[in-house]
């Protein structure tokens, strides 16, 4: 076991896959000298060369579109978009091309690519660098959507995403880049897509979350425990497909569901999970997510957007027992 950051663990996962499979390569802005925004590609160009860690022009449409073409032509590209906000310049290539080629062409094609587009608030980068649009992509048939929450998961899920024959939207949370955790370097296995992780066992309510919001939910669970409320915390890890079995089994035991995400609540993926659970189990459900405002810049404004542990705990207390 070694202690490493979320960014270092992703770098390790990518390096392992590039050593294992010569058709794996990455393209994006500033991967060489800079090594990616958080060092998640650092020094990989020295090991694999400029043809496999490719520094590109600022051409998001072509970063994504070239990845589609390269995937159709027998390689496994990783398109690095730097920010999910910038990836919006390439939604057409992702949604109209990557997600649909296999289907439109009657199964002749596979598009084994990873579109890496970090989400979330990192602090002080405001409205065009802080969004969490993960729900958009869960709505698109053909795509897999992954939101790793820990260093070990950012290695194991990235490996699974690279090996997947479907296009995977891989959304690391920028607020987690520097978070450290234990990673077993001797275990090169992937973490399967579509499987949630139960972060904390509980009896009285199930709290479902993902990415950086999981840690906040865990803080709330700690506070609630001191009041005798036992909250089970589930990190979905993959949003499409989401681990329905784990969530349903948990809520069937606890009898209540709260979904919490950093993304705007309106139209957020929490609504989908809450609706599915309510339809199937008929139990009380609730959602917490950001207000429908752009992410602001100034510290008190940005803090006002966030869903803090005290709000989560308060929402749980309000729910019918």
């Amino acid at each position: 076991m070694s202690e490493m950051t979320y960014a270092q663990a992703a770098r390790l996962g990518l390096q392992e896959e590039m050593r294992r499979d010569p058709t794996v390569w990455a393209l994006g802005e500033d991967l060489g000298y800079e090594g990616g925004m958080a060092g998640q590609y650092s020094d990989l160009q020295a090991e694999f060369g400029a043809d496999r860690i490719v520094d590109t022009p600022i051409s998001e449409s072509t970063i994504m579109g070239a990845a589609v073409g390269a995937a159709l032509a027998g390689t496994r590209p990783i398109a690095e978009l730097r920010f999910s906000d910038f990836a919006m310049c390439a939604v057409d290539e992702l949604v109209n091309q990557a997600a649909k080629a296999r289907y439109m062409f009657g199964g002749q094609a596979r598009v084994p690519m990873v579109a890496r587009m970090p989400i979330g608030i990192r602090g002080g980068i405001a409205a065009q660098h802080s969004q969490s649009p993960e729900a958009w992509y869960t709505h698109v048939p053909g795509l897999v959507v992954v939101t790793p929450g820990t260093p070990a998961e950012n290695r194991g899920l990235l490996k699974a995403a690279i090996r997947c024959d479907d296009p995977v939207v891989y959304m690391e949370h920028k607020g987690l880049w520097g978070v450290t955790g234990e990673v077993d370097e001797n275990d090169p296995s992937e973490i399967p897509l579509g499987v949630a992780r139960t972060v904390r066992d509980g009896r009285d309510i199930t709290i479902v979350s993902w990415a950086a919001q999981v840690g906040v939910a865990a803080e709330a669970a700690e506070a609630l425990a001191s009041e005798g409320i036992s909250a089970e915390i589930i990190d979905l890890r993959t949003l499409w497909p989401w681990d329905r079995d784990t969530v349903m089994a948990s809520v069937a035991r606890t009898g209540r569901l709260l979904v919490v995400h950093e993304a705007v609540r309106v139209g957020g993926f929490g609504g989908e999970i809450a609706a599915e659970v309510a339809e199937e189990l008929g139990v009380p459900v609730a959602r917490l997510g950001g207000e429908r405002i752009p992410i602001p810049f100034s510290i008190p404004l940005e803090e006002a957007y966030k869903i803090k542990a005290d709000r989560i705990a308060a929402r749980v207390r309000e729910m019918p027992a």
Binding site: T23, W25, L27, D51, R52, V54, T56, P57, S59, S61, T62, M64, G65, A66, A67, V68, G69, A70, A71, L72, A73, G74, T75, P77, D92, E93, N96, Q97, A101, R102, Y103, M104, F105, G106, G107, Q108, A109, P141, G142, L143, V144, C164, D165, D166, L193, G194, W240, P241
Partner: protein, 333 residues
């Protein structure tokens, strides 16, 4: 066919036959659109056949091709099966995509045809990526991207030109300039001197040719494709042409000047190639027989498409994705 043809005449006759197949396919597609058997949008390639045939004549089966919404001619020229294509237009089992794609999403990966495309200029970015894969895998394939004059005003085209040159990729961009973007005259909405100048500004060599002259297209393609295969980096051919029909079958092209399309008939590629063949060893009887044979072949495909089965509705739910694949209706309560 007469056995005393020169090699050159025999080769041109074979290309001419392909042009006739495309023409007959497109006529049949249009007729069956109006008859109600072919749904959606049918963008016919009538009048531009010499470009696809002249370019693809110089490609190998394993070279890649990306196309656009007007892709039937490109597909046939690259070697896709016109029978499977006709079944696809009818939405039937046995179509290139078993009815999942239709006219705008014809593909045949077995001959390197990576797909027609419903989004203008998106084939440009896909092409440069396919070319990057070719380089990474150490192959000597080249990638051809067909784009129209309307597509040159989209960002992905200019991004892809830059990208192809930066990485010196084996890509041939072929701009079929039929001078009209859907229903809008392209020069009215295009600044500067147009596509060739745009390519040259990225140091991508560009040549403008008469696309309706099969011999010019073939000769230019032979030279340019050989150069690209030998490492020249990307190049562009602007093939001037004229769309004899509307943007799609149900466009009567009322925006044209009176007499314009009629005048264009004089320069259309099938008539021109046929004249050459008449002067170079084929009799009119032989040409008529060839045309009758092709017409019958395509009519046979139409009959096959009429008779073919509709896809089972369950096929709507397959080939979406492996991970998180959809449920069949009724599979969950």
């Amino acid at each position: 066919m007469t056995s005393n043809l020169t090699n050159e005449s025999a080769r041109v006759a074979a290309m001419f036959r392909k042009m006739l197949v495309i023409r007959a396919f497109e006529e049949a597609a249009g007729e069956n659109f109006f008859a109600g058997y072919v749904r959606g949008s049918v963008h016919q390639y009538i009048g531009e056949e010499s470009i696809a045939v002249g370019i693809c004549e110089n490609l190998r089966d394993d070279d890649y091709l990306t196309s656009n919404h007007r892709g039937h001619g490109h597909s046939i020229a690259k070697g896709a099966d016109p029978r499977a294509m006709m079944l696809e237009l009818f939405g039937k089992v046995g179509g290139t995509s078993d009815g999942k794609g239709g006219s705008m999403h014809i593909a045949d990966f077995s001959v390197g045809m990576l797909g027609a495309n419903g989004v203008i200029a998106d084939g440009c970015t896909i092409s440069v990526g396919a070319a990057q894969a070719v380089k990474l895998l150490g192959q000597d394939r080249i990638v051809v991207n067909f784009i129209g004059d309307g597509g040159i005003n989209r960002g992905p085209f200019m991004e892809a030109l830059n990208w192809a040159k930066v990485y010196e990729l084996p890509v041939l961009f072929v701009c079929e300039n039929n001078q009209i973007a859907a229903t809008t005259t392209t020069r009215l909405v295009t600044a500067g001197e147009g596509i060739a100048r745009r390519a040259e500004s990225f140091d991508v060599p560009a040549v403008t040719i008469d696309g309706n002259d099969l011999f010019t297209v073939d000769g230019t393609a032979a030279r340019v494709i050989s150069e690209i295969r030998n490492g020249s980096g990307p190049q562009l051919i602007q093939a001037m042409t004229y769309r004899l029909r509307g943007h799609f079958a149900h466009d009567d092209a009322g925006y044209r000047e009176p007499g314009e399309a009629e005048a264009a008939l004089e320069h259309e590629p099938i008539r021109r190639t046929e004249s050459w063949l008449c002067e170079n060893g084929l009799s009119q009887d032989e040409l008529d027989a060839m045309r009758a044979e092709v017409t019958a072949e395509i009519a046979g495909y139409v009959d096959d498409a009429m008779q073919a089965d509709w896809p089972d509705p369950s096929l709507a739910f397959t080939d979406v994705q492996d991970v998180g694949a959809p449920n069949m209706p009724g599979a969950i309560s």
